[in-house]
C-alpha cells in the first residue's frame, strides 16, 4: 500500500499510531541540531560569526566557539548589546548568528531587534532556543509563548519554526544563504527526528507531509509531530487529515494553505504559541479574505502556563494530538453538510451515539 506520508521516516510512521513515539523515536532538542548546523556553516563560510549571551553551553554553540574562537563572541548576560552589535557587524559583511533564548531575543532585546536589525534589513540571524512552551520545567519566565507572534509583526521579518532536527539543520543553512534578518525558533526539549534527507526545505514553502482530503492540519515546530499523531488517531475513525509542516510562519505559503482549504474545506492550525498573532492568526487572516471555510486554532489560550515536564505541560495547556483531534471534529461538524465526506459523517455520528454511555471512561482519560 502506498504510504500517505511524505518525507516522514518509515520508523516514525510505524510509531505514530503507538503511544511510544516519544519514548522510542530518535529525538533531539532542535537547539542542538542548530549548533551542529552552525558548526558546519562555520567551516563553509568564513563570514559566519557566532554571538552568545551566556547560554552557549545550553545551546551547544560552544562547539563553534571551540573550533572558531576568533569568530565567537560571548557578550555575557547582555542581549540588547549583543543584538545591536550583531547589527553593527552585519554592516561590514559578516553574517552574525545571535544566540539566546526566545524570551530574551523577542522581548528583552526587541527594541534592538526591530530598530537596529529589521529596520535597516541587516543580515543578522537570530537563533532563539526555548521557543514557545518548549522549556516545560523552566516555567513561565522562560516560556516564549509570544515570540513567533511578536517576530511576525515586525516589517520585513522572516520567521522560521522547524519541526524536527533534520529540517532544523536545513533551515539554518537556508537562513545563512538568505540576505536579511531571519528569526529561527528552536526547542529546548527533545523532538523526534521526523524527516529523511529528501525533505525539501525552502524558506516560505510549506511542506505537505501527510496526504488527506477530509481536513487539513497546518502546524509548525513541535506541534507538527502532534499533528501527525492526531492524523493517525483520526484515520482510525475514517477521517483522512492532510498534515502540512508550515515551518516558515512568515512569509506564509499562501498557495499551499489556500489549496489545503479548497481541497478539504476544513482547516485546523496547531502551534505551540499563543493563539494571538501566530500561525493560527496568519492562516485565519488569509482564509477569511480569500477562502472562508470552517477553521479552528489550536494554541495557547489567554493564559500563562506553568512548570512541568514538556509533554505534560503542553497537554495541560491544550497543545497535544488529542486537542487537535477534537478541533478537527469540530470543524468537520461545521463543514456545509454537502461537503462532509461520508466517512467523516459516519465517524462523527458514531462518536455522538457512543458519547453518553462512555461518560465515565472519558473522565478517566482526562486524568
Amino acid at each position: 500500500m502506498k504510504s500517505k506520508y511524505r518525507y516522514v521516516l518509515p520508523e516514525i510512521q510505524d510509531l505514530l499510531a503507538t503511544k511510544e513515539l516519544f519514548a522510542k523515536a530518535k529525538s533531539e532538542p532542535t537547539r542542538y541540531s542548530y549548533a551542529d548546523a552552525l558548526l558546519k556553516l562555520g567551516e563553509q563560510n568564513p563570514h559566519v560569526v557566532s554571538l552568545d549571551a551566556d547560554v552557549s553551553k545550553s545551546m551547544k554553540t560552544t562547539l563553534f566557539a571551540a573550533k572558531f574562537p576568533e569568530r565567537s563572541f560571548n557578550f555575557g548576560i547582555a542581549e540588547q548589546n549583543m543584538m545591536a552589535a550583531a547589527a553593527g557587524m552585519a554592516t561590514t559583511g559578516l553574517i552574525p548568528f545571535a544566540n539566546t533564548y526566545a524570551v530574551f531575543a523577542s522581548m528583552r532585546a526587541l527594541d534592538m531587534v526591530r530598530n537596529s536589525i529589521h529596520y535597516p534589513r541587516l543580515n543578522v540571524k537570530i537563533a532563539a532556543s526555548h521557543s514557545g512552551i518548549t522549556p516545560g520545567p523552566d516555567g513561565v519566565t522562560h516560556q516564549a509563548q509570544e515570540d513567533l507572534s511578536i517576530m511576525r509583526s515586525i516589517a520585513g521579518s522572516t520567521v522560521i519554526a522547524p519541526a524536527d532536527p533534520t529540517s532544523t539543520q536545513m533551515a539554518v543553512h537556508a537562513a545563512a544563504a538568505y540576505d536579511g534578518p531571519v528569526y529561527l525558533s528552536f526547542t529546548r526539549d527533545p523532538v523526534p527526528v521526523l524527516y529523511d534527507q529528501a525533505f525539501p526545505f525552502q524558506i516560505g514553502k510549506a511542506v505537505l507531509v501527510r496526504e488527506g482530503g477530509d481536513a487539513a492540519i497546518i502546524a509548525n515546530r513541535d506541534l507538527v509531530v502532534q499533528a501527525l499523531i492526531a492524523a493517525e488517531m483520526l484515520a482510525r475513525k475514517g477521517i483522512e487529515a492532510r498534515v502540512i509542516d508550515c515551518h516558515t510562519l512568515k512569509p506564509l505559503d499562501e498557495k499551499m494553505v489556500l489549496k489545503a482549504a479548497k481541497d478539504t474545506g476544513a482547516v485546523v492550525t496547531a502551534e505551540n504559541n499563543i493563539i494571538y498573532g501566530g500561525l493560527g492568526s496568519a492562516v485565519a487572516e488569509l482564509l477569511v479574505e480569500k477562502h472562508p471555510i470552517p477553521m479552528k486554532r489550536v494554541g495557547v489560550g489567554n493564559t500563562f502556563a506553568e512548570s512541568g515536564p514538556y509533554l505534560e505541560v503542553i497537554d495541560k495547556y491544550g497543545l497535544t494530538a488529542r486537542h487537535i483531534v477534537k478541533a478537527v471534529n469540530e470543524v468537520l461538524k461545521r463543514k456545509p453538510s454537502g461537503k462532509v465526506p461520508v466517512q467523516a459523517k459516519t465517524a462523527i455520528r458514531s462518536r455522538a451515539k457512543t458519547k453518553k454511555p462512555k461518560q465515565k471512561p472519558r473522565a478517566g482519560q482526562k486524568r
Partner: protein
C-alpha cells in the same frame, strides 16, 4: 568640493556653517532637535573635515572610518556635515522630515548617503559601534569607529553593556565622544538621573578617558587624534558642551531640546552664529 583635512581655523568656520544649516533645516522642517545638534557641531565637524578617513564619492568604501551618532535625534548636525562634505547636494537639507526625503527624522542608513548606521532609539549606537570595531579586528582592517553618545542617553543600561564589551575586547579602534551638554528632553541630566562621576565610571569600565572643552576646536582635534594612538582599550572623550551652543536664547535651555525655531527666531540665531563663527 571642500578640501580636507582642514586647519583648526577652517574647522571653526565650517562649524559655523554647519550650525547655520542646522537652524535653517529645523526651522524649515518645523520640527527637530536643535539643542543637541548645536552642542555636537564642533565634534562632528572635526570628525568629517579633519579626523576621519572617508571618501564622500564612495560612501560604501569598506575601509572607511565609521561614524555613528548614537544620539540619533541630533541628526541635523550629521546631515549638515554630510552635505557640506559632499555626500549629497545641499539642497536636500530643505527636505528634512518631509515625505519622500532622503533625510528622515532619525537617521536611516539606506536613505542617506554616508549614514553608516540606522539610529534613533537611544542606547543602540555604541553597541553597533562595538560590532563594527570587532569586525575590523576580525577582518584585520585598520578602519576606526567613532560614536557620539548623549549624556542623557547614558542613562540607558545598554550603553553600559556596550562599555563593558568594548573593554573586554580591547577595542582601541573605537572612540566614543560623550556630548556632555547637561540637558535632556525633560530636565537637567543630573537632576533627572545623575550620571556623575561620569569620567570615573568610564575609567572603571576599562576605557581610556579624556576630558575636553567640546567647543574648543583645538582640544577637540587633539583629543580625537590622540585617541588613535592609544592601544589596548577604547577611548571615551568627555566633551563638555553647551546645549544650543551658538544661539544665545537656546543655550542651556532644556526646552530647545526638541523644538523648532520660528522664522524670526531662526533669523536671529543665524545672525548670532554668523557673527561668532563665520566672520573670517
Amino acid at each position: 568640493m571642500i578640501q580636507a583635512p582642514m586647519t583648526v581655523e577652517e574647522l571653526k568656520h565650517m562649524a559655523g556653517i554647519i550650525r547655520c544649516d542646522i537652524i535653517e533645516m529645523i526651522c524649515n522642517a518645523g520640527a527637530g532637535h536643535p539643542g543637541g545638534s548645536l552642542s555636537a557641531a564642533d565634534v562632528v565637524t572635526a570628525l568629517y573635515f579633519r579626523v576621519m578617513r572617508i571618501d564622500p564619492r564612495n560612501p560604501g568604501w569598506p575601509d572607511r572610518d565609521r561614524f555613528i551618532l548614537s544620539k540619533g535625534h541630533a541628526c541635523p548636525v550629521w546631515y549638515a556635515a554630510l552635505a557640506e562634505r559632499g555626500y549629497f547636494d545641499k539642497s536636500e537639507l530643505a527636505t528634512l522630515r518631509r515625505l519622500n526625503s532622503i533625510l528622515q527624522g532619525h537617521p536611516d542608513m539606506h536613505k542617506t548617503p554616508g549614514v553608516d548606521m540606522t539610529v534613533g532609539s537611544l542606547g543602540h549606537g555604541l553597541s553597533a559601534g562595538v560590532g563594527m570595531a570587532l569586525s575590523a579586528k576580525l577582518k584585520k582592517k585598520d578602519f576606526r569607529v567613532y560614536v557620539v553618545v548623549g549624556d542623557g542617553e547614558s542613562q540607558e543600561g545598554s550603553i553600559w553593556e556596550a562599555a563593558m564589551s568594548a573593554a573586554k575586547w580591547k577595542l582601541d579602534n573605537l572612540t566614543a565622544i560623550l556630548d556632555r551638554n547637561h540637558l535632556q528632553n525633560d530636565f537637567c541630566v543630573d537632576d533627572e538621573m545623575p550620571i556623575e562621576p561620569v569620567a570615573d565610571k568610564w575609567r572603571a569600565f576599562g576605557w581610556h578617558v579624556d576630558a575636553i572643552d567640546g567647543h574648543d576646536m583645538e582640544q577637540v582635534v587633539a583629543a580625537l587624534e590622540a585617541a588613535r594612538e592609544r592601544p589596548g582599550a577604547p577611548t571615551m572623550i568627555i566633551a563638555e558642551t553647551v546645549k544650543g551652543k551658538g544661539v544665545s536664547f537656546m543655550e542651556n535651555v532644556a526646552d530647545w531640546h526638541g523644538k523648532a525655531p520660528c522664522q524670526t527666531e531662526a533669523d536671529q540665531a543665524l545672525v548670532e552664529i554668523r557673527r561668532c563663527y563665520c566672520e573670517v
